[in-house]
C-alpha cells in the first residue's frame, strides 16, 4: 500500500513529461507517419539496399561471392541484348505515356469543364475497368488483337483485309496499345485534378480580352494544367518501364522488355547479381528520363508564353 502511494507522484511527473512530449508537433507528426514510414523502410528501402548490394557481388554457382566488382554493370551496359531491351523499354514507356496523356487529356477536360453535376459519376465510370483483374484486362486485349480476334474479324468482315493480320499481336505495338489502355485512368485523374484547380474566371478573362475558345485554352487552361500533365506522364512512364506481365502476355518475342530479363536473372537463370545490376541501371535510367521529361514539359510551357 505505502509503496504504491509513494510511487504516485513520481509516476505522475513522468506522465506529465510524456504528455508534453506526445503533444509536441514534431512527435505527433512522426507518430502519424510512422506506420507508413516503417512499412516503406522494411518493404522498400531494405530490399533496394539488398538489390544494390547484390549488384556489386558475383554469382558463384550456388553461392554468392561477396568481393566487390563492377563486372555486372559492364555486362548490363555493354551486352547488346540488355542494351536493346533497355532501349526498347524506354521507347515503349515513353510512347505509352505520350499517348496516354494525349488520350486522357480530352477526357479529363470534358469531365472537368462539361461534367456539370455528374463529375463524380464520370470518374466512377472511369474506374469500372479496375473492378476486374489486370490480367483479365490484358487477356481481353489478346482477344481483340489476336489472329482470330475481334479486330481481325471485324476488318475482314468489312473487306479491308483479306486474311487475318499477324501484325497486331505479339510485338511492341501490342504492348503499347495494352499499356496505354491499362494506364488511362491513372493519367485522367491527375489531369482532372489540375484542371479543376484552373479558375474559370481566368478563362472568362481571356475571352474578354479577345481570345476564342481554342486560343484561351492554349494560352490559359493548358499552361495552368501542366502540373497535372507532368504527374500523369510520370505516373505512367515510371511503372511501365518495369512492366513484365504485359510484354509476357501480348509482347511475343519482339515485345520483350528489360523487366522480363531481370525476372529471368532472378528466376530461371539464377544470377541475382546480374539481375540486381540490371535493376539498378534501369532505376537510374528511368530517373534520368523522368527528370528530362519534367524539364522538357516545363521548357515547352515557357515557350508557349
Amino acid at each position: 500500500m505505502t509503496a504504491a502511494a509513494e510511487g504516485v507522484p513520481a509516476r505522475r511527473m513522468t506522465r506529465a513529461r510524456r504528455n508534453a512530449l506526445l503533444q509536441s508537433e514534431p512527435v505527433q507528426g512522426f507518430a502519424l507517419i510512422s506506420p507508413t514510414f516503417l512499412y516503406a523502410l522494411i518493404l522498400l528501402v531494405l530490399p533496394i539496399l539488398v538489390v544494390f548490394a547484390h549488384s556489386f557481388w558475383t554469382q558463384d554457382y550456388l553461392t554468392i561471392d561477396h568481393t566487390f566488382t563492377l563486372e555486372n554493370y559492364r555486362i548490363a551496359l555493354t551486352e547488346p541484348i540488355y542494351r536493346d531491351l533497355l532501349w526498347r523499354s524506354l521507347y515503349i514507356s515513353l510512347t505509352v505515356s505520350f499517348f496516354t496523356v494525349i488520350l486522357a487529356y480530352p477526357i479529363a477536360y470534358f469531365i472537368s469543364f462539361h461534367g456539370g453535376r455528374h463529375k463524380s459519376l464520370w470518374l466512377f465510370l472511369i474506374t469500372i475497368p479496375f473492378w476486374t483483374s489486370y490480367l483479365l484486362r490484358v487477356m481481353s486485349w489478346k482477344v481483340i488483337l489476336g489472329y482470330n480476334g475481334v479486330l481481325n474479324s471485324g476488318l475482314m468482315g468489312l473487306g479491308i483485309i483479306d486474311e487475318p493480320s499477324t501484325a497486331l499481336l505479339y510485338n511492341s505495338s501490342a504492348v503499347i496499345i495494352t499499356l496505354t489502355h491499362a494506364w488511362a485512368a491513372f493519367a485522367i485523374l491527375p489531369i482532372f485534378v489540375s484542371l479543376e484547380k484552373v479558375d474559370r474566371t481566368l478563362v472568362e478573362a481571356a475571352t474578354d480580352l479577345g481570345d476564342g475558345p481554342l486560343r484561351s485554352f492554349l494560352r490559359v487552361t493548358l499552361p495552368l494544367s501542366v502540373p497535372g500533365v507532368i504527374s500523369a506522364a510520370l505516373i505512367v512512364m515510371i511503372p511501365t518501364v518495369g512492366d513484365y506481365v504485359t510484354p509476357k502476355l501480348v509482347g511475343g518475342k519482339d515485345g520483350v522488355m528489360i523487366a522480363n530479363a531481370i525476372q529471368a536473372q532472378f528466376g530461371k537463370a539464377s544470377n541475382w547479381p546480374l539481375g540486381a545490376a540490371l535493376s539498378v541501371t534501369t532505376m537510374l535510367v528511368v530517373s534520368l528520363m523522368a527528370g528530362a521529361t519534367v524539364l522538357i514539359i516545363r521548357a515547352l510551357q515557357r515557350l508557349a508564353r
Partner: protein, 382 residues
C-alpha cells in the same frame, strides 16, 4: 476692401456640371429579361447608359446587377430583349468580339504571367509590333501608377496592385465600355476609399464609359454620374447620386441608401407637381410629387434623412421644429446618432448630429427640439 472669398453654391447636379458628356447613348438595354426556369434574375429591364458616363448598378446581392453586367460583356445572354453597345446590336456576338472589357471581382490575374504579360495579353492578338505593344503596355501601367512593377508575378502583388493590373489589362484594349464587377469589394476600407477617388479620376481622364456593379451605396454615390438602383431583378430608379439620395422613389430605395426616417401621411391635396399631406409629428406639409408617384388610397409615406434633422440648442428657435425626448444615443466619433421619440409618431426619429456642439453629451431622457426644412421631407411610394 477686398471681397471675402466665398465658396459658390453649386447650382447644378453632377450629371450636367462636371464634364461635357455627350447625350449619345452608349449602351441600350431594351426589355431585357433573364430567366433561369421560373426564376427571373432580371425582369424586363430597360436602361440607357450614355457615352462617357460613369454609371453604377447598385443593389443588394441577388438583385440582378451582375447578371446584367455579364450580359453586356457577353458571358450570358438575355432570355428576352436586346442589348446594344455603341449603336450595334450585341445579339449573337460572342464575348471575345465585343467592344467591352471587364475588371473581374477576383481580378482574374493570370498566375503564370507577370504584370507586363498580363497587361499585354489582349494586345498579342492585335499584332501591333513589339514597340507599339510595349508603348501601350507602359502607357496603361502609368495610368494605374504601376510603373516599374512590370516583371513581378501576380503572386507577388498586393490586393490593390492586382486591382490596378486588372484595370490596366482592360484599359489597354481601349474598349468602348469598361465593365467593373465589384472591383473594390476585396480591398480594405482605406484602400477602397483611395481607389474610389482614383477610379473616378481615371474615368474622367480616359473618357471611357464605365459601368460599375456594386452593393456599396457610398461607393456608388461617390463615383457615379448616374446610378440604377435594382431590387429583385427590377430597376427601381435611375438618377444622379444626389437625386437618388434626396428623392428616392420608394421606401426600398430610400432604405438601401443610408438611413431614412419614415412618417405616415394622409393626402389632403394632390396636383400635377405637388402633394399636401397631413402628418402627426410634422403637421401639414406641402412637398414635391415624385415623378413615379402612384397614389394608393389616401395614404403616402414621407421620408426625412437623419442628418436633415438638427438639434436646437438652448433657446434657439426655427420656423419648422418638432419636440421630443432622447431615448438612445450612439457615438460614432465625428457624429452621434440620437434616437428621439416624438409624441404622435409611431416610430422614434433617428437624428445624426455632428459632435461640434456636444451632441455626444446629451443625456438620454433629455427633452429636445429638432429643426427641419420642409423640403427635406420627401413623399414616396410605399
Amino acid at each position: 476692401m477686398p471681397e471675402p472669398i466665398q465658396a459658390e453654391r453649386p447650382q447644378e447636379d453632377r450629371t450636367k456640371s462636371e464634364r461635357a458628356q455627350s447625350d449619345r447613348p452608349m449602351i441600350e438595354i431594351r426589355d431585357v429579361t433573364r430567366s433561369y426556369g421560373a426564376f427571373k434574375a432580371l425582369d424586363d429591364a430597360t436602361l440607357t447608359i450614355r457615352e462617357g458616363e460613369f454609371f453604377s448598378l447598385l443593389g443588394p446581392s441577388g438583385c440582378g446587377k451582375t447578371t446584367l453586367l455579364r450580359m453586356i460583356a457577353g458571358f450570358d445572354n438575355p432570355t428576352n430583349g436586346s442589348i446594344s453597345v455603341g449603336g450595334q446590336s450585341m445579339e449573337g456576338i460572342p464575348a471575345n468580339r465585343r467592344p467591352t472589357n471587364m475588371v473581374f471581382q477576383s481580378y482574374a490575374i493570370f498566375p503564370h504571367l507577370n504584370v507586363e504579360q498580363n497587361v499585354a495579353y489582349g494586345l498579342k492578338r492585335l499584332k501591333l509590333g513589339a514597340t507599339e505593344e510595349k508603348r501601350r503596355v507602359e502607357e496603361a501601367l502609368a495610368q494605374v501608377s504601376l510603373i516599374g512593377l512590370g516583371k513581378r508575378l501576380a503572386t507577388e502583388l498586393s490586393g490593390g496592385q492586382r486591382q490596378r493590373v486588372a484595370l490596366a489589362r482592360a484599359l489597354v484594349m481601349r474598349p468602348k465600355v469598361l465593365l467593373l464587377d465589384e472591383p473594390l469589394s476585396a480591398l480594405d476600407k482605406k484602400l477602397r476609399e483611395q481607389m474610389q477617388v482614383e477610379l473616378r479620376r481615371l474615368q474622367q481622364a480616359v473618357g471611357i464609359t464605365f459601368v460599375l456593379v456594386t452593393h456599396d451605396q457610398y461607393e456608388a454615390l461617390a463615383m457615379s454620374d448616374r446610378i440604377a438602383v435594382m431590387f429583385g431583378g427590377k430597376i427601381a430608379q435611375v438618377a444622379s447620386p444626389k437625386e437618388i439620395y434626396q428623392r428616392p422613389v420608394n421606401r426600398q430605395v430610400a432604405d438601401f441608401l443610408g438611413g431614412m426616417n419614415f412618417v405616415k401621411a394622409e393626402i389632403v391635396e394632390e396636383n400635377a407637381a405637388s402633394l399636401v399631406v397631413d402628418t402627426l409629428g410634422f403637421g401639414r406639409v406641402r412637398t414635391d410629387k415624385p415623378k413615379a408617384f402612384v397614389r394608393n388610397g389616401g395614404g403616402a409615406t414621407l421620408g426625412i434623412r437623419p442628418e436633415r434633422l438638427r438639434v436646437l440648442w438652448d433657446n434657439a428657435t426655427a420656423k419648422f421644429e418638432v419636440a421630443g425626448k432622447v431615448v438612445e444615443r450612439h457615438y460614432f466619433g465625428e457624429i452621434t446618432h440620437l434616437i428621439v421619440e416624438i409624441p404622435g409618431l409611431e416610430k422614434p426619429l433617428s437624428v445624426t448630429e455632428t459632435n461640434d456642439f456636444g451632441a455626444d453629451d446629451i443625456p438620454v431622457g433629455t427633452p429636445i427640439r429638432l429643426a427641419y426644412d420642409p423640403e427635406a421631407l420627401v413623399a414616396m411610394a410605399d
